[in-house]
Each structure stands twice: as structure tokens, then as C-alpha cells.
Symmetry: C2
Subunit: 231 residues, 2 copies
Amino acid sequence: MTSRNVSKTVVKRLPVYLRILDNLILRDVEIVSSRGLSLESGFSAEQIRKDLAYFGAFGTRGTGYNTAYLREKLLKIIGLDQKTRVIVIGAGHLGTALTRYNAVKNLYVDIIAVFDRDRRVVGQNIGQIPVLPFERAPEIIREHGIKVALITVPEAAAQRVVDEITAHGITAILNFAPAKLHAPEGVHIQNSDLTIDLQSLIYYSTAEKERLSRLQKEAEEAKSQKMLKLD
Amino acid sequence: MTSRNVSKTVVKRLPVYLRILDNLILRDVEIVSSRGLSLESGFSAEQIRKDLAYFGAFGTRGTGYNTAYLREKLLKIIGLDQKTRVIVIGAGHLGTALTRYNAVKNLYVDIIAVFDRDRRVVGQNIGQIPVLPFERAPEIIREHGIKVALITVPEAAAQRVVDEITAHGITAILNFAPAKLHAPEGVHIQNSDLTIDLQSLIYYSTAEKERLSRLQKEAEEAKSQKMLKLD
């Protein structure tokens, strides 16, 4: 383990390992090799060993990882050893879906309130979770020491929301608005971009090889024209 | 460009480049260097040159890329040069949010119908898009030659939905259900997992360095105990 920050791609794989361990433990599997983790995750065994080695030596060469022990360590590494209290900003369809989904599915996250400016939804509940007026967000963030927010407001409102909530203590934001947002240093914004997911999916929907070989032909033609289009 | 398949991580970056080019073109920028693309995307200039080189030679050394030309090529590479017709399965909050969002925001995707089994929502519209009974999905898929589906049904229903729609011609699926789904060979399933996003976000919400140095201490202690827990 080094003192420099761990790369984002490593951090994104940690919850995947956690989920696999949860499933193995449910199936009473006590020891898993990096090859076993590779089969379940699709990442290479070497990658997995390297990822986990960032944080310490959790396995035994030739034997593997103790699933319960590694799970416990991963919870601490990710910061899930205590339930994280989270707020959602925006009680539209996406905010409602996220709130319902996480309230039921996620052992590690506790959504404590949803905020909205729309008087028609304020005062209602999503499952057990209250929808509060956005003006109350600063008070709730401070009172409960909330660090994490999910933003599902329209693009035009997103930056103002970020300015407001980071001023009162939010340090990590999962943003669903299709906007490039700016935050003070030390605040981490992660964009969950459905358009990117969808477009990379479309790549696979048509015959990949056929399209690429057509493009290759075009590229060669362009080359022989000495990249006229770039002149 | 090689004849083997392009790696998934490269494919995921292509829509990011496309979005940047869209923005540059809006700002009347005609030429962009790989360094310029790097500043906008956060990927290294070397990575960007390598990614684009898979598909042909689109730039001029020392000058850069013509934004309009590269955008046009990227549209063809991803398969977005023609609008892709898509269906959504599941008209709950998430399905509704995706349908509204994409119908408005996405130039490249055309959601033509949403399917559900719930008689209370069937027959309604989401924006301009009709909610149809799931029994009609095979007919619509075939009639319109649909290849791409977004699945937002509950976990328990997801595998049956995949079996049904892939049997009738769907080859690319963006899955929002928290389930590991199986599909026939040649079908690409991409999981959009909000839990993973959220958990990796939580990693950043607490003081990273403090936590890691505590873990390092623990790891050293465990080492000195010769990994007793693994015995």
C-alpha cells in the first residue's frame, strides 16, 4: 500500500469484489482464490491480486482469501463498515426510483431524506422516506453530518444545488444530471451517465466486424488521398 | 486497426469523445489536439491517440483532429450514424425516467415503445411514447427490427424478459435490474449498476488517507501474527 491515492478504476472494482464475497458467503464458501474471484468478476486474477495488494496482504499464496475476513476488510476499505447516511436531491421519477431501490436493496446506505422545490411533492413519503423542501437541506446535512448526496435535478438547476450543499458539508456527489458540474477542491463528483452507457451499448448492437472493416477501407482511401479533409 | 474485437474500456470512452466533439463544434472549434481532448475528458493524450488509432488515422501529427470529421467518423464507429430504435421493458419509475430523459435529450436514440405487464399502466403514454402490453414485444421487435432494449423490471422477472426478447431479435441489453443475467451467445448485456456507483462514491466521502493508513497498520499487525485468521 502506498500513501498516494488509489486510482479511480481500482476503487470502482472494490464494490464488485464485495458483492461477489457476499454471494460466496451466502453459499457457505470460506476460501476463494484470485482465480475464483476472476471467474465471478471477469477481471483477471492478476488484476485482482494487484488491486487487493494496494490495501495490505489479505491472502495466503497457494490457498487464497478467507471470504469473511476479506469482506470485513473491504467494508473498511470502502468505508461501508458503518451505514452511510445519504440524501437525494430531486423527487422526480429518477429520484423516486433511486430512493425506493436503495431503501430496499442496500444494506450499507441509509437514505434519510429526499429534497425537492416542488410544493406538490414536498410533504409526501417515498416508501418510509420523507420528501422535504430543499430549503431544509442545509439544516439536515449539518444536523446528521451527511457527506453524500445523489443529485437527480434538471440540468439547469444542478450547479446551484451543488454550490448550496457543498457549502454545508457534502463531500461526495453522485450526479445524474447531464451537466458538467464544478465543486470546491476536496469534493468528489461522480457522474452516472446513462447516455454514455446507452451509446456504448449501441456499439454492440450492430455487426461490429463488418462495420470496422468498412471503416478500415475508408481510412485507407483517406490515407491515399493524404488526408485531404484535414488540409 | 486489427480484426480482433475492440476492448470494452475503449468502447466506453468513444461516447465521451463524441460528447466532447459535439461541444467543441457548438463552440466553433475546428481543430483539436489529443492534448485538448485530454483536458476535456481526463484521459491521457496518449490513451486518446491509441484509442482512435484502433479505427484508422484520423489526425495529422502536430496539427490535431478536425472536429467535424472525427465526429462523423465516431458516429459511424459507434453505430450512431443512423438513429437507433430502442425499447424499454418496465414502466416503473426508472423506466419512466429513462424514457422521458432519452426522448428529450438523445439525438441518436429513438425509444419507440415501453412494455409492461401491469394493466394499470398499459395504454398510457410517457411523453409521446406508448406503454404497450409485454405480450406485444415480440411483434414490435420483429416489425421494427429492434436490436436494443433497456430492462428496468424487478430482479425476479429479469431473466424471463431476457429469454423472451433475445428469442425475437434483441442483441444488446442495458440492464438496470440487480441480477446476473444470462443470454445466448452473441447477445451483449451491459449492467448499469447504481449500487456499485454509490459504493465507490462512499469511498471518497470519508478521509481516504486516514482510513488507508489505519488499514496499513492493521495489515502489518496481521502479518506479524502470520495471518492467523487464514489458518
